[in-house]
């Protein structure tokens, strides 16, 4: 009987907390992860963002490097986060567990997010974060934009998919189980990374790539003359000697890792790569 009372009390308290949440959305939000940064910047007004992660400043990897310069940043340490006195911290499974434990000890509310592995999961995550922030309308608006982009990126009915593969500096490629892999399928590109057993984000050996070149090569960006060993592989003569067989499209690494709003730009780039390749194939057939 006594235990039941406890449970009832707990439920009442929980309901109260939820109500308080609904009434009073968090006002000082901190994010510790690049991909959650992109969601936060998209969904919350700047005055409610206490800090985003320093990864967002990285011009290579961050899709929001421009906006990030206007916002306070943190270097993913509990010390900084505590000093910011946030009422909500967004962390991902990629963030350090030690930081999360520290936050728990201090009693700061944090929410842990997975890295979405599909478009569907990413859209669900957009809705979850929007609800947490008390910005459901903004969330729905973003979901609508993503869905419009998906519809716009689809090829015409009856289109035979073109073979394609992501090839970033260091040979990094994206498997079909990644969001990028799914976006490629949406845009009418058949990801041949699967043939080589690439799952997740793994390097694709150059020799395998050269042995059966795809029609579309989604190459990463490189700095001028590509001095690092990782970048040099993209300019390799073996790849250049097969340029007549494939079309190259720059697919920057900042479109690779995050889903959410980044999917809109990624879909645009993929559809452009497909249209460019189709035009090239037509031109070749006409000759």
């Amino acid at each position: 009987m006594k235990r039941k009372g406890h449970i009832v009390a707990a439920i009442v308290a929980l309901a109260g907390a939820l109500q308080a949440n609904a009434a009073e959305p968090p006002q000082r939000i901190v994010s510790l992860n690049l991909c959650l940064d992109t969601l936060l910047v998209e969904l919350a007004p700047p005055e409610r963002i206490a800090a985003i992660s320093h990864y967002s400043l990285d011009a290579w990897r961050s899709p929001i490097a421009e906006k990030a310069r206007q916002l306070p940043i943190n270097y993913e340490t509990a010390e900084e986060v505590v000093a910011l006195r946030p009422d909500l911290v967004l962390t991902s499974r990629h963030s350090a567990t030690a930081t999360r434990h520290a936050l728990a000890r201090v009693g700061i509310r944090f929410e842990l997010f997975d890295v979405p592995s599909s478009i569907e999961a990413s859209i669900a995550q957009v809705r979850t974060v929007a609800a947490l922030l008390g910005r459901k309308e903004a969330g729905e608006a973003l979901v609508a934009r993503i869905e419009t982009a998906i519809a716009a990126a689809r090829p015409a009915a009856g289109f035979t998919p073109l073979t394609a593969v992501v090839y970033q500096p260091g040979g990094l490629s994206a498997g079909i189980d990644t969001v990028t892999g799914e976006l490629m399928r949406v845009a009418g590109l058949e990801n041949i990374a699967e043939r080589y057993g690439i799952r997740d984000f793994r390097p694709l050996p150059l020799e395998l790539l050269v042995s059966s070149p795809p029609q579309v090569l989604l190459v990463g960006e490189t700095s001028p003359n590509a001095p690092t060993q990782a970048e040099r592989v993209i300019q390799h003569r073996a790849l250049r000697s097969l340029d007549s067989r494939m079309t190259r499209q720059v697919f920057p690494v900042r479109l690779l890792y995050c889903s959410g709003p980044t999917m809109i730009d990624a879909l645009g780039t993929l559809a452009q790569a497909r249209d460019h390749a189709v035009a090239m194939l037509r031109a070749k057939a006409a000759l």
Binding site: R202, P203, L208, S211, S223, N225, Q229, E231, H236, A238
Partner: protein, 330 residues
């Protein structure tokens, strides 16, 4: 001075050359993609790209760099009269890598393809000068090795620092690539850059061979034979600096070649430094080719770095060497 060549020694060079030729053939055949026999008869552009643009540069670089590193190890051991001397253990390779990485960090490497190896050579030269400064101060084998370890750690710290501070998103992977060298995905462009520099370095090193022999009598003995030690020192620093700097700029640090190969060959050709140089070069080529073939034969999706295999072979060898030295000394 003509060297007295033992009967065993006379067959060594041809035998090593045959070994290198055989390993080169294997190196061309082995890879991620299994090329069937028909590929060799009627070539299409794909198999041509794999053979000419991927496998051939790999094999050529393996031979050139292996030979250069074997030669530099033998020369350095002769000059310092220390069996543990080698560009890798003495930190010269790490200094060369630091030079190359700094040229990336300060954004000058993109200006011309020769800038990166030139900075590597500069780093290697600095490392050699530091080393000679120490050995000039009558350093014991132990002091020399210890200062090499310190120089190496310092250079590696510099490499990690520079790459971590660089805006490149590939920094972490790049640190590994520099510290554990590899021949994976190098191109003919790399071969054309490395060959002239290494050739000059090897000639400079080889022309010191008479002085190296004289040095076995000690510095006073060498001087009395009319050897200009100052000149020899500079020539050797330049030669080895060029060799190590260039090879590190192209492949990253490939350690232990210059340590293992001269030691394996010394019992056969005898302990005269001048006779050891050429066999060590050919043996070095065989050793690196062999390591690079093992790397490609090992199962697993991503290739292991060549430096890993070389260290796995070289480190136990180094320990065995230390052990036998200790027995001799005590």
């Amino acid at each position: 001075m003509t060297a007295p060549i033992t009967v065993k020694g006379r067959w060594l060079v041809p035998a090593l050359l045959v070994l290198v030729a055989a390993l080169a053939c294997v190196s061309i055949v082995v890879g991620k993609v299994n090329l069937g026999w028909d590929v060799w008869s009627h070539q299409d552009d794909v198999s041509r790209a794999i053979l000419v643009e991927l496998r051939l540069p790999r094999t050529l670089l393996g031979i050139i760099i292996g030979a250069a590193l074997g030669l530099s190890g033998a020369a350095l051991q002769g000059y310092l009269r220390n069996p543990l001397a080698e560009p890798g253990t003495l930190g010269v390779s790490s200094m060369a890598a630091l030079g190359a990485v700094l040229s990336i960090f300060f954004n000058v490497a993109g200006m011309h393809p020769f800038v990166l190896p030139a900075c590597g050579v500069l780093g290697g030269l600095l490392g050699m000068m530091f080393l000679f400064l120490l050995s000039g101060m009558a350093a014991s084998a132990l002091t020399l090795i210890l200062s090499g370890v310190i120089l190496g750690s310092l250079a590696i710290a510099g490499i990690s620092l520079a790459l971590s501070l660089s805006p490149s998103p590939w920094a972490a992977g790049e640190i590994i690539r520099w510290l554990l060298g590899a021949l994976t995905d190098r191109s003919l462009d790399d071969v054309t850059i490395a060959t002239p520099l290494i050739l000059v370095g090897s000639i400079a090193t080889l022309s010191c061979r008479r002085a190296l022999d004289a040095l076995t009598l000690g510095e006073v003995g060498a001087r009395s034979l009319g050897v200009d030690l100052n000149r020899v020192q500079w020539q050797l620093a330049l030669g080895i600096g060029l060799i190590v700097g260039t090879s590190v700029a192209v492949t990253g640090i490939v350690g232990f070649v210059g340590l293992v190969v001269p030691h394996l060959l010394r019992p056969i050709v005898g302990s005269r430094p001048s006779v050891l140089l050429i066999p060590s070069a050919i043996g070095g080529a065989a050793f690196v080719l062999c390591g690079d073939i093992i790397v490609r034969l090992l199962p697993g999706g991503t290739e292991l770095q060549l430096g890993v295999v070389m260290s796995l072979i070289g480190a136990p060898f180094f320990f065995a060497l230390l052990q036998s030295m200790r027995r001799k000394l005590t």
